[in-house]
């Protein structure tokens, strides 16, 4: 068993003992700058598409043989077809492409994505998914007899969401890779006024760390406590409220539930005013305006952009934001619903990119997508079912865009990549994806395995899509 996993399991059984991450002195020294933190600012933005995005319709082959395989697999020409018309796809040109190479287009609703790709600001992860080690179709089909380790409960929503969040493989980790990034970088970021990890889409394992705690806020940022106005008895009420919470946290005679609740309540009181004031007085973006009809996703991204614009005011150098969009579990009505879903992602990623460039932070902010899984090539009548490998996107000024990373599979049911029912086996792992992002973010190479526990099983620790 991998040493890291054994350590995690041991610690989990130890019952409450905190334990250090054990970075070497060299690591710590290498990262310290004059003030003890990073000199620059970097942000990662994880856009989680909940439900399992039907991503083979997002980036589609357009060269004849490849398109025909795709269309055939997706029921083209029948009443239950999921295939996009070849003529409707928006063509993209890959950098370094030669004549005779397969060609591709993006879904007709994704013009923003196509523009970013053409400008070299967006990269396509061609076939990525949770893997513990590189896995062939034969190994998958004989996993039980070969003893080949696969992530458990493939095709189950919450298990695969956990896999993307935690990269836990078969270990029983209750932390996420973003949480562990914050733990590794705690020396440089531990004194930030706001946690490294900020979620605008609820509580998940993604940002759970051992030391670093996340902060969860609403799509439009945190709200202030109305019980604590700055006048009259408001300040004393607030002080009394905080004393009650301190009392709970320092008492051993109450329950774990009271202490956990009090911890969250305390962070809420401490951060709410400062953050909500900062956001209220922050820059007004053109690309994500304060007024107007923004989608829920765009509201989240607007708040992210506002916090980034206030990074000096809040003393921030490293942040990982978690935003989400839902509705991707398209077992039904895929043809009718997919265009709207993809239009929202594409327009939102484009608007966010533009907003970040309004404040000159294009090269400091990288947005990437995750999703439970890709979906079956085959149709169930009017939709697709849970599968495995799929396409993810990475966007930002520091991305070596206009390229595909990994191997785009032949989309053939029964073919070499299909492990059954049109489910494509990934050839790039979620660990490699995360490790590449973590590396850019400032995690040193020798700490990558803490972040992405299976990374040592893959020859390419860095996929090269960041400058």
């Amino acid at each position: 068993m991998n040493r890291l996993r054994r350590k995690f399991l041991k610690a989990a059984a130890a019952g409450g003992a905190a334990y250090a991450f054990g970075r070497t002195a060299d690591t710590v020294h290498a990262q310290m700058s004059g003030t003890g933190g990073f000199a620059d600012y970097k942000a990662l933005v994880c856009l989680f598409l909940f439900g399992g995005n039907d991503s083979w319709n997002m980036v589609v082959p357009t060269s004849t043989a490849e398109y025909n395989a795709y269309a055939r697999s997706r029921g083209g020409g029948t009443a239950s077809s999921l295939a996009i018309d070849r003529t409707a796809l928006l063509p993209v040109t890959l950098q370094g492409q030669s004549a005779g190479d397969p060609t591709f287009g993006v879904h007709p609703s994704m013009s923003g994505t196509r523009e970013l790709f053409s400008a070299g600001r967006l990269a396509v992860m061609a076939n990525v998914g949770p893997l513990i080690r590189p896995t062939t179709k034969t190994q998958y089909q004989s996993a039980a007899t070969l003893g080949h380790a696969l992530p458990p409960q493939l095709f189950s929503h919450n298990d695969q969401q956990d896999q993307w969040h935690s990269l836990r493989g078969r270990a029983m980790l209750k932390s996420g890779w973003a949480g562990r990034v914050a733990d590794v970088l705690n020396a440089q970021t531990g004194n930030q006024a706001l946690s490294v990890n900020v979620s605008l889409a609820g509580q998940t394992y993604f940002h759970a760390g051992e030391i670093a705690k996340p902060y969860v806020m609403g799509a439009n940022g945190p709200t202030a406590f109305t019980a604590f106005p700055t006048t009259g008895v408001g300040p004393s009420r607030r002080a009394a409220f905080e004393s009650v919470l301190n009392g709970t946290l320092s008492s051993a005679s109450n329950t774990v539930y009271e202490r956990a609740y009090a911890g969250v309540q305390q962070r809420a009181v401490q951060f709410a005013d400062r953050l909500s004031n900062a956001i209220a007085s922050s820059y007004s973006f053109t690309a994500l305006p304060n007024t107007g009809n923004l989608s829920a996703l765009q509201q989240q991204l607007r708040t992210v952009a506002k916090i980034i614009s206030m990074r000096h005011n809040l003393g921030l150098s490293r942040q990982i934001f978690f935003v989400s969009a839902g509705g991707f579990d398209q077992h039904d009505d895929l043809v009718a619903d997919q265009p709207g879903l993809l239009a929202n992602i594409s327009a939102s990623i484009r608007a966010f990119h533009d907003a970040i460039n309004e404040i000159g932070m294009g090269e400091n902010v990288t947005l990437f997508t995750h999703s439970d899984f890709g979906r079956t090539l085959t149709s169930n009548g009017d939709g697709s079912d849970h599968a495995w490998g799929g396409i993810q996107l990475v966007a930002g000024g520091a991305v070596r865009g206009g390229r595909f990373y990994g191997t785009y599979p032949v989309l053939e049911t029964g073919g070499a990549w299909d492990v059954g029912g049109g489910r494509i086996i990934p050839t790039t792992s979620a660990d490699q994806f995360a490790a590449t992002l973590a590396s850019w973010f400032g995690v040193p190479d020798q700490d990558l395995a803490k972040v992405a526990p299976s990374i040592n099983n893959f020859s390419a620790r860095n996929l090269g899509f960041m400058v």
Partner: protein, 583 residues
Amino acid sequence: MMAVLSACGGGGGGGSGNTSPAASSAPSAPPISKVEAFRFLNQTTFGATEAEAARLIALGDSNTAYTRWFDAQIGLEASLLLPAVEAAYPNPVPANFNIGSLNAVRLERWFANALTGQDQLRQRVAFALSEIFVVSQVGALQNLPNATADFHDMLARNALGNFRKLLEDVTLHPAMGVYLSMLGNQRAVANTNLRPDENYAREMMQLFSIGLVQLNVDGSVKLDASGQPLPTYDQDAIEGFARVFTGWKWDCPSTLPTCTFANTRPQPAPGPGYNQVRPMRLYPEQHEPGSKEVLAYSGVALPNAIIPAGQGGDKDLQDALDNVFNHPNVGPFIGKQLIQKLVTSNPSAAYVQRVAEKFNNDGAGRRGNLEAVIKAVLLDSEARNPPAGVAASAAGKLKEPLLRLTQFWRAYDAKADSGRSGAAVNFTGGVNAVFGQAQGSSPSVFNFFSPFYAPPGEIADAGRVAPEMQLATEHLNTQIANFFWTQVQARTQAAGTRGADLMYINTADDMMTANDSEALINRVAERLLGSATLLSPTLKAQAKAQIERTVVPTTTSPTTALGTRTADAIFFVVTSPEFALQR
């Protein structure tokens, strides 16, 4: 109103009029304390009140009162949601009517039942079941409000019945059919790669019956030789069940020529063809005819765990549901979740085992008797007597945010002048936006929080869970605190001058003690916690100090000051960790 047994000169013993030692039936046990009554009522209702605690205490002693309360509750008819939705349908329905707006009617009726309905136990269990058998108005059911309302009523009718019937009613309910795509699921067509939809097959096993990993009867996970959990099912079983669940769609009268698999549609309003609230109907030509592999386990009835070919859909369905129902996982999987929803997040293995064994056999040879299971959950010694010593720190659970609200409103007799309960106007952005949850409004089939969630830190490190903590985020805690602050402020407006649908709490009793900070904080604690002894010393001292910062004038009207002092007292208790805890 629940009948109260007439007290024959005081509680204790049997209910007979003569209490001479020779005639009394069983030795008297001690009476239930108010703290114990609050504990029980917070497990079994939408929130303990002093009045309900007094009624419970008067029913008997700690040996008899709980059972009597339980038996009286079982006899009560289910409060329903559907009639309110049906009554709200305009007649005739205007052309551009927003059908989805009727979901708000369902939500209000749910609040009314939670706050003032008599069948509290049944509704509380139905609420717990609604977080396991999840359907939601979010998504495909948005414009099918009758189906969503009736689904909840179906859960309420089955809550104290039999699990096998519950599973079948869930499977065939059109709300679930729409939500998890069994409705309209077609048989395979090989040359177009069309396969049956696997959504319901997968979630039925993962969430509604057996879960992902094999369990021992005490809820512990069975492990293989290398320490890995053993899965309960594989992809073959999913595909087998998916093929069973083919051919069902909206019910319609066979006499109609449009009553075909292709053409049958949902009918929006009560009237001819009202099929939103009728079980789905089998269209045999769309049912997969071949054999279907289902679950294999020790003692399985089907030879080789395969449903034979050519039986027809109705028989296939019965065989499939029997196959699931009899899997040994069901008792511990469902039993443990019921304990977690009602009593404690971290039951002992022995407690889970007692409940699971009651599921397996209620004592009269019946499997799946939910009335017996719920009784076992609530009357178990671990439910009535919380663990002491080291285990005490994990006793109980965090209240769900919605149950903090219902308890607060019940404790303070909250009402709106219009008589509407929990109207949407009370919540900026909707109840879901403030409390992070609302009945029948889950973001996905996985409910608002996972039964396996453990916040990082001492809970996760000890291998424990605290599912409701998934909703205790900085964001929601702030929203909820602000909501309660508005609620405790609002009592100053006179009836007739304030929003007719806004819920106002009744603080008249509290205000009468507000001159005396000690009396005030104790009164509020008695009302919300059941006893002032449950206030931590810090909470009591800080709340009193804050109360005293508002000076009560002697020469002008004291009402405003008394109101502010009362507001502070209630605010501090209702936002406290003590109140967030369900003991």
